[in-house]
């Protein structure tokens, strides 16, 4: 039986290579939206925070989790909206 940590590390390794392949040909016009879009994705930490904030125990971990949910939500909501706002401005020449 392969330990769980090894599986997680394998996922990490494969994803990093995939990430390099996905991004490396992005035109510089899109560098800012790419960065802020990726930034919004890094708010995924909210998913980890949710289970901590909902543990129902009035302990430190619960409060830390709730704080993390709020902070990560700023990152997620703000990040996606601002990226969308930027991308809406990118237009091709008409005609």
């Amino acid at each position: 039986m392969i330990p769980n940590e090894v599986f997680l590390t394998l996922i990490l390794m494969l994803t990093i290579f995939l990430g390099f392949e996905l991004i490396h040909k992005v035109p510089s016009t899109l560098h800012t939206p790419l960065m802020s879009g990726a930034n919004a994705i890094s708010g995924i930490t909210v998913v980890g925070a949710i289970s901590l904030a909902g543990s129902g125990q009035q302990d430190l971990a619960n409060w830390l989790g709730a704080g993390a949910v709020a902070l990560a939500s700023i990152n997620v909501v703000g990040g996606y909206l601002v990226t969308d706002r930027m991308l809406a401005m990118f237009k091709k020449k008409e005609g």
Partner: protein
């Protein structure tokens, strides 16, 4: 039910990957961003279905607070303030990962989990304070210059040593809260120390690096709470940040280590003798030249952002085009304060993105350009990078504006650029200096056309 949650994460991971892929092309980018947002929503719903959750009230309060702040900030921010906004969002993500790592600490945690907890606290903490300092520098609430002091290397080395010691002690004695607090404190301090010696012109590198860190912090937090989707999404962000960082470093012909540790401030102030004289030009004379031009290239820099001149530049572009002139823009990868900064500003002013040429596309046609208008750019058009071997920026790829028939340089005064390097471009025979605020100078040109 537990399986359903896990499969939900798998689908979300696939959507994140597709979304990022579509973000790579202007035509599909907006759709890609929405796919990615959908993936996030799916992951959040899956997390809410988790059976470990018995109480929803704090989650909902957290969401509501975060969503309101985030949405308001995203709506209200000016396009010119985008670099600092991205930095700030990034910082919050880092702090969230720090808190998740901290909260994941439990008495039964094994060594592997403890190590990942330390990592998420470290990376998250330094992302948070580093991003705050970057925010301060970009918004000019603190000075944007490089802060260097005697013994800086020693202090930093001591902090790193302190982090290592306290991190190791924490994994050995997780019950002793002192080590934990020490790790948190030192990580926060280190974030500040890493970013203060980096000057404003190097910010594109710092922002992309911090972006990468916030992903890696989420990734480490994913290990700490044993969650696949955090690892996948975090690693994708980490990888994209690293690639952007490399592109930025390459565009400056400097290594990452050089950007992080030396700062332009340490470059000795040897002045190279520049031959020739400065030839100023009036708005009216500049207009006569432009009116006769059939091919114009516009090269913007940070000065355009400062003067908020993008809209009036677009007006000038339209007038020139109506006059039968071909207009293109040349964008250097590190022009401005974040990757792609100029592109966003010009897009805001409705300039079509296919008129924004990358450095390698505009350089070969520079010799056919009648007038090249340089707006508030300096180091990225400095021919010393090609010609003067002793120059600190020697070897940096630049936009060869000096090869155009005539160059107009719009500039506030004769002070040298951020890097403090003399620019021979200003003294060339075909260069004319149009002094003053960029917005006013171009506004003047627009009025001449009317």
């Amino acid at each position: 039910m537990e399986n359903l949650v896990q499969y939900g994460y798998v689908v979300a991971a696939a959507l994140f990957i597709l979304g990022l892929k579509q973000l790579g092309s202007p035509a599909t980018a907006r759709h890609g961003n929405r796919l990615s947002a959908g993936a996030m929503l799916l992951a959040i719903i899956a997390a809410l279905l988790d059976q470990g959750i018995v109480e929803y009230q704090w989650i909902l309060i957290g969401f509501a607070v975060g969503a309101i702040i985030g949405a308001a900030a995203a709506r209200l921010v000016e396009m010119t303030s985008m670099p600092e906004m991205v930095a700030l969002f990034n910082g919050f993500g880092g702090l969230a990962s720090l808190l998740v790592g901290w909260a994941a600490l439990n008495p039964g945690a094994g060594t592997f989990t403890l190590v990942t907890i330390v990592l998420s606290i470290l990376i998250g903490g330094l992302t948070f304070t580093g991003s705050l300092i970057a925010y301060g520098k970009l918004s000019e609430t603190i000075g944007s210059g490089a802060v260097m002091f005697r013994g800086q290397q020693v202090v930093n080395s001591l902090i790193v040593l302190g982090i290592l010691v306290s991190a190791v002690m924490f994994t050995r004695e997780p019950g002793n809260a002192q080590w934990l607090y020490l790790v948190i404190g030192l990580a926060l301090l280190f974030g500040i120390m890493v970013v203060i010696p980096i000057g404003g012109a190097d910010m594109p590198v710092v922002i992309s690096l911090l972006n990468s860190y916030s992903g890696l912090a989420a990734c480490a937090a994913g290990f700490a709470v044993n969650n696949n989707i955090l690892i996948v999404a975090g690693a994708l962000v980490g990888a994209s940040g690293i690639i952007l960082t490399r592109i930025m470093c390459k565009a400056m012909n400097r290594s990452l280590g050089n950007v992080l540790f030396s700062g332009f401030g340490s470059v000795s102030s040897e002045t190279t003798e520049v031959e020739g004289e400065i030839k100023p030009i009036s708005v009216q004379d500049a207009y006569y030249v432009l009116e006769a031009a059939s091919n114009v290239a516009i090269v913007p820099g940070y000065g355009m952002a400062v003067a908020q001149a993008q809209h009036v530049v677009k007006e000038l572009q339209e007038l020139l085009e109506n006059n039968g002139c071909d207009v293109n823009y040349g964008i250097h990868p590190v022009a401005g304060r974040m990757p792609g900064h100029m592109n966003v500003l010009l897009a805001e002013a409705d300039v079509p993105y296919d008129q924004l040429l990358e450095m390698d596309d505009i350089n070969p046609r520079m010799e056919t350009v009648d007038v090249c208008i340089v707006i508030g750019a300096n180091d990225v058009v400095n021919p010393a990078a090609r010609e003067v071997e002793s120059s600190p920026i020697y070897g940096m790829p630049i936009i060869n504006v000096d090869q155009a028939r005539t160059v107009f340089v719009l500039k506030r005064s004769m002070a040298s650029g951020f890097a403090g390097i003399e620019n021979p471009l200003f003294y060339k025979d075909n260069t004319r200096m149009l002094f003053g605020d960029a917005k006013e100078s171009i506004g003047g040109l627009v009025r001449e056309f009317d």
